[in-house]
C-alpha cells in the first residue's frame, strides 16, 4: 500500500470530475426541490381518464397503453425486439470465440429445483396467460404476462438440462406476433370506420365493459404483445444460458 506514492493513489482528474458531478447533482436537486414538487394542475392523463369509457376497457391504464398511446407501445416492443436481436448477436460471438476454452462445468440441478419447477411450470404458464388475457380488465397485460411466461421457461431451462428452446419456433412466434401488431394497426388505418393507425375497428360497446370479450381490438393487441414479449425474453434467457452449448445461432440466416 505504502509503496504507491500518494499522487498516484489519488487521481486528481477523477477527483475533480467526481466533485463537478456532485456539484451539478446538488444544483439539480436544488432546482427540483424548489420547483418540481408542486405538480401540475391538469395533465393529459386526467383528460384521458375522463374519456376512458370510449375504449370500453375497464383498466384505464391499458386503454392508454394500448389504444391512445399504442404507437409508443409498438415502439417499445420494437426496442425489446432490437435488444433481443443484439443479445443474440453478442452471445453468438462469445460462443464462437470461446468454443475451445474451458467452459466451467455446471453441476446438475438439485432435486428441490427439479421438483419445484415441475410443480411451478404449469402454474406459471397459466398465470402468465391469465395476466395477458385479462390485461384490459385488471392490472397486468402483455408485457407483464409475457415476462411471467418467459420466466416459466427459464426455470424449466435451469431445472432440466435436456430442455432446449426451439429457436426457430421462437423466431416464428416473434415474427408472427410482431407483424400481427403492425397489421392490426394498418387495418385500423385502411378501414373507413376508424381511419387511423391502431384505430379500434372491432365493436366495443360500453355496455360490455368489464367482460372478457370487450374493448374491441385492445385484448387482441395485448395478446400479440404478450406472445412477442414472452418469445423475446425467453430467447434472451436462452441465448445467455446456452452459450457454450451446441445450438447454432445462425442456422436460419441466408
Amino acid at each position: 500500500m505504502s509503496d504507491v506514492p500518494l499522487r498516484k493513489r489519488v487521481r486528481a482528474k477523477t477527483l475533480m470530475l467526481v466533485l463537478l458531478c456532485g456539484w451539478l447533482f446538488a444544483a439539480h436537486l436544488g432546482i427540483l426541490f424548489q420547483y418540481g414538487l408542486d405538480g401540475q394542475t391538469a395533465s393529459v392523463g386526467d383528460a384521458l381518464l375522463a374519456r376512458n369509457a370510449e375504449t370500453a376497457s375497464a383498466n384505464a391504464v391499458t386503454s392508454v397503453v394500448v389504444s391512445y398511446r399504442g404507437f409508443d407501445t409498438l415502439g417499445e416492443v420494437t426496442v425489446l425486439f432490437l435488444a433481443a436481436t443484439g443479445i443474440g448477436l453478442l452471445f453468438g460471438a462469445r460462443q464462437r470465440a470461446g468454443a475451445e476454452g474451458a467452459e466451467t462445468p455446471i453441476s446438475d440441478p438439485n432435486e428441490m429445483l427439479m421438483t419445484g419447477v415441475r410443480l411451478l411450470f404449469p402454474v406459471l404458464v397459466l398465470l402468465g396467460v391469465y395476466v395477458v388475457v385479462h390485461g384490459h380488465l385488471s392490472p397486468g397485460g402483455g408485457f407483464q404476462g409475457g415476462v411471467i411466461i418467459a420466466t416459466a421457461f427459464f426455470l424449466r431451462m435451469l431445472a432440466d438440462r435436456t430442455f432446449v428452446l426451439n429457436h426457430s419456433l421462437i423466431g416464428l412466434l416473434e415474427a408472427l406476433s410482431g407483424s400481427g401488431f403492425v397489421l392490426v394497426g394498418l387495418l385500423g388505418l385502411i378501414l373507413l370506420g376508424t381511419a387511423t393507425f391502431l384505430g379500434n375497428f372491432l365493436p366495443h360497446p360500453v355496455a360490455d365493459m368489464g367482460r372478457l370479450l370487450s374493448a374491441g381490438v385492445i385484448p387482441v393487441v395485448y395478446c400479440l404483445v404478450g406472445v412477442k414479449v414472452g418469445a423475446e425474453v425467453a430467447a434472451i434467457f436462452g441465448d445467455m444460458l446456452e452459450r457454450g452449448s451446441s445450438h447454432p445461432p445462425d442456422a436460419e440466416t441466408s
Binding site: 409508443d72 432490437l82 415474427a175 407483424s179
Partner: protein, 491 residues
C-alpha cells in the same frame, strides 16, 4: 376500405418488414427488400411532396393532438425523410450489389438497418415528446448493434462504447421529458411549446441543459463527441456512412426542431448552439489533420461538417437555415460517397493507415476518382454541391452583418483542404509493387455513381431545389404556424 398513403407508412412499413424477416429469408427476398423498402418510401415521399408544399400533413394516431400522438410531415421534415430513405436505398444497394462481407447481408443486418431507418423517420416525423424518445431509442439501439455486427474485438469495443454513451444520452433526454411533463402536463410538442414559457426560469434552464447534454451526445457536438471516432473506426464503413449520413442528421433536426418550437425567442439557445458548433468545427478539423487512419479522418471531417451545420442552423435566420438544411443534404451525399468508396478501398488494401494507401488511386482508378470528387465536394470547390451550400450559408451570415462565422467557416475549409489534399496526394503516389486481387463487385460502383451524379447536379444547378430548402427553413422557423396547425387557431 381505402389505402390512405399517410406519413405513418414511413414507420409502419419498415417495422412490418423487419418483424417478418424470417419469411424473407425463406423466400430469398432479404436483399431486394433491403433496397426496395426505402425505395418505396422514397417514392411515397416524392408522391406526397405536392401536398406537403401546400400545407403540412398532420396525421392523428387514435386521438387528436393535445391528448394523443400525431405525425407531422411539413416541408422541413419532408427534406429529412426523403434524405433518410434515399441514403437507405444507396447503402442497401451497395450492400446488395457490392458483394460485401456476409455479416452485412444476413437477417440481423437487414433488421437493424430497416429499424434504423424506421427510427430516424419516426424521430423526424413525430409530434409527441415521449414518442420522440421511443424512436430515439429504436434508432439508438439499432445503431449500437450495427456497430458490433462484425463481432471482432474493435467492433465489439465500438458497440459497447456506443451502447454505454448512447444510453447515458437517452437517460438525460428522458429526464428532460419527465420534467417537461411534470411542469406542463402535456406531451404533445405543440402543447408543450404553448406552455413552455410559463415554466419557472431555473426549471427551463435545467430542462434545456438536460436536453442539450442528451441531444448533444447524440448529435456529436463538441464537449460530448470524444467517443465518435472510435465508433466510426470500429464499424464497417457502410455502417459508418449510415451514422454520419442519417442518424446524426435526424438528431440534428430534432435538436433544432425542439429549440425553434419550444422557445418563443431562440436567441440565447441559438447563440449557445452556434458557439458549440463553431468549437466543434474548429477542433474536429484541426484534429483531423493528424489522423493516420482513413476512417478516423472521415469521422473527424464528419464532425467538422456537423459543427458547420449547427453553426448555420443556430443563427436562426431564414437564409442561413435554408443553407444549413442544404448543407445537411450535401454532407449526407458526400459522406455516403466517401465512406462507401472507403469500403471499396479497404477491401482491397488490408489496413486503413495512410502509409498503406500509397498508390491506391492508381490501382483502383474509379474508386480513387470518386474519393477525389467527394473530397473536393467537402471542401466546397465550385462546380460541386458543397460550394453551393457553403456559399449560401456565407451569404446568409454576410447579409445579416455577422462576420465571425464567415471567417471561421473559411478557416475550417482551409484546414479541410490541407488534410484532404494530403490523402489525395498519398492516394496517387507512384508505387509499383501494389499487390491487389483482381477487382470484383463492379456493381458496387452503381449506387456510388448515382450519389456522385447528384453531387455534381446539385452543384451545377442548385436553383432546381432552392425553393424546397427555403420552404423547409420557413416551416422549421415558423413556430406559430405549427402551433396553429396542430392545436387550431386561438392558441
Amino acid at each position: 376500405m381505402t389505402m390512405p398513403l399517410t406519413p405513418v407508412w414511413f414507420i409502419a412499413l419498415p417495422l412490418l418488414l423487419a418483424f417478418a424477416s424470417p419469411l424473407w429469408v425463406r423466400l430469398r427476398l432479404l436483399m431486394p427488400l433491403l433496397v426496395g423498402t426505402p425505395a418505396a418510401l422514397l417514392a411515397l415521399a416524392l408522391g406526397l411532396l405536392p401536398a406537403v408544399r401546400t400545407a403540412p400533413l398532420l396525421e392523428t394516431i387514435v386521438i387528436a393532438p393535445p391528448l394523443g400522438i400525431h405525425l407531422q410531415l411539413d416541408s422541413a421534415s419532408w427534406l429529412l425523410v426523403a434524405l433518410i430513405n434515399f441514403a437507405g436505398v444507396v447503402v442497401g444497394a451497395f450492400l446488395w450489389l457490392g458483394e460485401t462481407e456476409p455479416y452485412l447481408r444476413e437477417r440481423r443486418a437487414f433488421i437493424l438497418i430497416l429499424l434504423l431507418i424506421a427510427g430516424c423517420n419516426g424521430m423526424v416525423l413525430t409530434g409527441d415528446l415521449f414518442n420522440l424518445y421511443v424512436f430515439l431509442e429504436i434508432a439508438g439501439v439499432s445503431a449500437y448493434a450495427l456497430s458490433a455486427l462484425r463481432r471482432d474485438a474493435p467492433a465489439l469495443e465500438a458497440g459497447l462504447k456506443y451502447l454505454i454513451i448512447g444510453s447515458v444520452a437517452a437517460i438525460f433526454f428522458l429526464f428532460a421529458v419527465v420534467l417537461i411533463y411534470l411542469q406542463t402536463g402535456n406531451l404533445s410538442l405543440a402543447a408543450v411549446a404553448r406552455g413552455f414559457s410559463e415554466i419557472p426560469g431555473p426549471m427551463q434552464m435545467l430542462i434545456g441543459l438536460l436536453m442539450l447534454i442528451g441531444l448533444g451526445i447524440k448529435t456529436e457536438l463538441f464537449p460530448f463527441n470524444f467517443w465518435v471516432p472510435d465508433i466510426y473506426q470500429g464499424s464497417h464503413p457502410a455502417v459508418a456512412s449510415l451514422y454520419s449520413g442519417i442518424l446524426v442528421k435526424a438528431f440534428l433536426f430534432v435538436l433544432f426542431h425542439l429549440v425553434f418550437l419550444f422557445l418563443a425567442d431562440p436567441g440565447v439557445a441559438g447563440a449557445w448552439l452556434m458557439g458549440l458548433g463553431a468549437i466543434t468545427m474548429l477542433v474536429a478539423e484541426t484534429v483531423a489533420l493528424r489522423q493516420e487512419d482513413l476512417r478516423r479522418m472521415l469521422a473527424y471531417s464528419s464532425l467538422g461538417q456537423i459543427g458547420l451545420i449547427t453553426l448555420a442552423l443556430g443563427f436562426g435566420v431564414e437564409s442561413t437555415t435554408a443553407g444549413g438544411l442544404f448543407h445537411m443534404v450535401n454532407h449526407t451525399l458526400v459522406k455516403l460517397l466517401l465512406f462507401l468508396t472507403a469500403a471499396i478501398l479497404l477491401r482491397s488494401f488490408v489496413s486503413a493507415r495512410i502509409a498503406d494507401f500509397a498508390g491506391a488511386g492508381r490501382a483502383r482508378p474509379l474508386a480513387g476518382a470518386l474519393f477525389v470528387l467527394g473530397a473536393l465536394a467537402v471542401m466546397g470547390l465550385p462546380p460541386l454541391s458543397g460550394f453551393a451550400s457553403k456559399l449560401w450559408i456565407l451569404k446568409g451570415f454576410a447579409e445579416a452583418g455577422v462576420f465571425w462565422p464567415v471567417a471561421l467557416i473559411l478557416l475550417a475549409a482551409l484546414i479541410e483542404a490541407g488534410y484532404y489534399f494530403r490523402w489525395i496526394k498519398v492516394l496517387y503516389e507512384p508505387r509499383t509493387e501494389v499487390a491487389i486481387e483482381p477487382s470484383e463487385g463492379r456493381w458496387a460502383y452503381l449506387p456510388i455513381g448515382v450519389v456522385a451524379g447528384l453531387i455534381v447536379l446539385l452543384g451545377v444547378a442548385p436553383f432546381l431545389v432552392d425553393d424546397l430548402f427555403i420552404e423547409g427553413a420557413r416551416s422549421l422557423l415558423d413556430r406559430t404556424a405549427t402551433l396553429v396547425a396542430v392545436l387550431g387557431a386561438g392558441s
